[in-house]
């Protein structure tokens, strides 16, 4: 099953409410995805700073040691916002690949969840309510966000296999459905130097689309190519620095509904996750058409 939710605030005056509006959307999808959940939140960037979201997969984290190790090996300023298993590294270095390689060698139990100037990513095992509480999702401000509740079918239930998946900078994807050819996609991408972190099918879709965009495709072109390259059932919700994109497979096997008002665009697998939103009774409500690309930008 799985549930997807997304929220883009058109009204900047609502940015501080992002998390508060989003948590009931996420918990409303608990029956569709009770085993793990995640949230990618996009906020205003700080000039010259990159945010790297990290998660300690095994054992006790030593975030202080990680920060010192990065500082000693990579030029630039490196701050750290530590949680329990989760931390955000704030760096002025543009050499993210060097940091990635360093972490892979010296901190193999740390997963690098996201990189970008706007994105911060949280995902973990548990119910959406537990995870929202654990990371304080309701306090998160931001311009837009992408969330997911997972009922695993294609790979194990672990924090790194939860959604959203990310690739590149300020790019994430959540998926309701399943792909039948993720290994084929992976075998195509790996020789191009694209590294996979997990055996999850959604990661293949995420890395494929981000690769197309990095090669110069606009998001619509990338998704069009995705219709050919990715075989299976999907509703994909994609978060970028600018906004959100939504697409359903040609058979519309997986649900989605959109509510749009002057203040926001809200997307969910089902209306029951949108019912609490202010002004939803006056919202323009519609089901996205199959094989049709929708996107919304934060102006």
């Amino acid at each position: 099953m799985c549930g997807i939710v997304g929220l883009l605030l058109k009204n900047p005056g609502w940015d501080r409410l992002l998390g508060e509006l989003l948590v009931p959307m996420l918990t409303g999808m608990t029956e569709r995805g009770p085993d793990s959940a995640g949230l990618a939140v996009f906020g205003q960037p700080t000039e010259g700073e990159t945010k790297i979201s990290l998660f300690q997969l095994r054992g006790e984290p030593d975030w202080g040691l990680l920060q010192r190790t990065v500082s000693e090996n990579v030029p630039g300023k490196h701050g750290l916002l530590p949680g329990d298993q989760h931390a955000v590294l704030l760096t002025t270095s543009s050499k993210v690949d060097a940091i990635r390689t360093l972490l892979r060698e010296r901190f193999p139990a740390v997963a690098l969840l996201s990189v970008g100037s706007r994105i911060q990513l949280y995902k973990d095992v548990g119910t959406p309510a537990e995870i929202s509480e654990r990371y304080g999702f309701r306090y998160f401000p931001g311009t837009h966000a992408v969330g997911h509740t997972r009922m695993a079918t294609e790979s194990a239930v672990t924090p790194d296999r939860a959604h959203p998946f990310t690739a590149g900078r300020d790019f994430c994807l959540v998926h309701n459905g399943s792909l039948s050819n993720p290994h084929l996609v992976r075998r195509k991408l790996e020789p191009l130097g694209i590294h996979f972190e997990t055996d999850n099918d959604t990661e293949a879709a995420c890395r494929y689309l981000e690769w197309r965009m990095r090669e110069g495709d606009a998001i619509d072109q990338a998704i069009e190519k995705g219709f050919e390259a990715l075989d299976g059932f999907f509703t994909f919700l994609i978060g970028t620095a600018d906004g959100l994109a939504l697409v359903r497979d040609p058979f519309a096997c997986k649900p989605a509904i959109v509510a749009e008002t002057e203040d926001y665009v809200a997307i969910s697998s089902e209306f029951r996750s949108l019912a609490h939103l202010p002004g939803v009774s006056q919202a323009k409500l519609f089901e996205p058409q199959p094989r049709t690309i929708y996107h919304w930008s934060r102006a």
């Binding site: 058979f251 519309a252 649900p255 029951r272 996750s273 409500l285 089901e287």
Partner: protein, 237 residues
């Protein structure tokens, strides 16, 4: 509405209160009075699943808002009106009665319905009336792809347009469509409208309360080419 129904007390269930969805369905299944057709109001449905599913009795149910999956599923006798949109599988496997969706209906509306009538005032999404077994469906707006896929008996009236593969692998169900058809499915074909077809369209429009000229509809039915295996057809029908 008849006089008995008008006089019947209205029972209200507020689904914003935890446990009331089960209370509603339990009451409808076990405690429905038989002496008069009662009226039920369901408030704050907020997309809950299985609202008024499995009802077998004369009852008038108004759902004041959007319903989730399987609203009025397996319905028998009841008249159910959703004053909003419906999720996947509205009135699926309905046996009798009348289900009206004032807004749009998601995938597989009226799937496998044996009897009764489902009226969707807005659009129907994909696979509306899939495997229909004798019920009637009236779509006020347009219907998505694979409408009436493998439908065996019954009638589907589409006042707007139809998506891809309309009536794919039809058996004996009949489709009437007023707008454009993106494509016909395998073994479906347009057929001339006869007097009995016009009468059927008139009857369905009257049930739904829609005002269209019956002569503006086209009939789609099975060419029955798939009824018999043809080794020479090379899988093309």
């Amino acid at each position: 509405m008849n006089a008995a129904a008008a006089a019947a007390p209205v029972k209200e269930f507020d689904l914003s209160q935890s446990g009331n969805l089960r209370a509603l369905n339990r009451w409808l299944h076990r405690e429905l009075p038989v002496e008069c057709a009662p009226r039920v109001r369901v408030v704050n449905p907020d997309g809950a699943h299985s609202i008024a599913a499995g009802v077998d009795g004369a009852v008038e149910i108004d759902v004041l808002g959007h319903a989730g999956y399987y609203v009025a599923g397996m319905n028998k006798q009841a008249r159910v009106t959703v004053h909003g949109n419906a999720g996947t599988g509205a009135a699926e496997n309905m046996m009798s009665g009348l289900v009206r969706i004032k807004g749009f209906a998601s995938n597989s509306a009226g799937a496998s319905a044996h009897g009764g009538c489902l009226v969707i005032e807005g659009d129907a999404s994909l696979r509306c009336g899939i495997s229909l077994k004798g019920g009637d469906i009236v779509v006020g707006g347009s219907a998505g792809s694979f409408t009436a896929f493998m439908a065996q008996a019954g009638r589907i009236l589409i006042c707007g347009d139809a998506g891809e593969a309309l009536g794919d692998s039809l058996y004996e169900a009949v489709i009437y469509v007023r707008g454009k058809v993106a494509s016909l499915g395998a073994d479906a074909r347009f057929e001339p409208m006869t007097e009995s077809d016009l009468a059927a369209v008139r009857e369905l429009l009257a049930i739904a309360g829609f005002d269209h000229d019956p002569a503006s509809f086209r009939r789609v039915a099975s060419a029955r080419g798939l009824y018999h295996w043809n080794a020479d057809a090379n899988q093309e029908y």
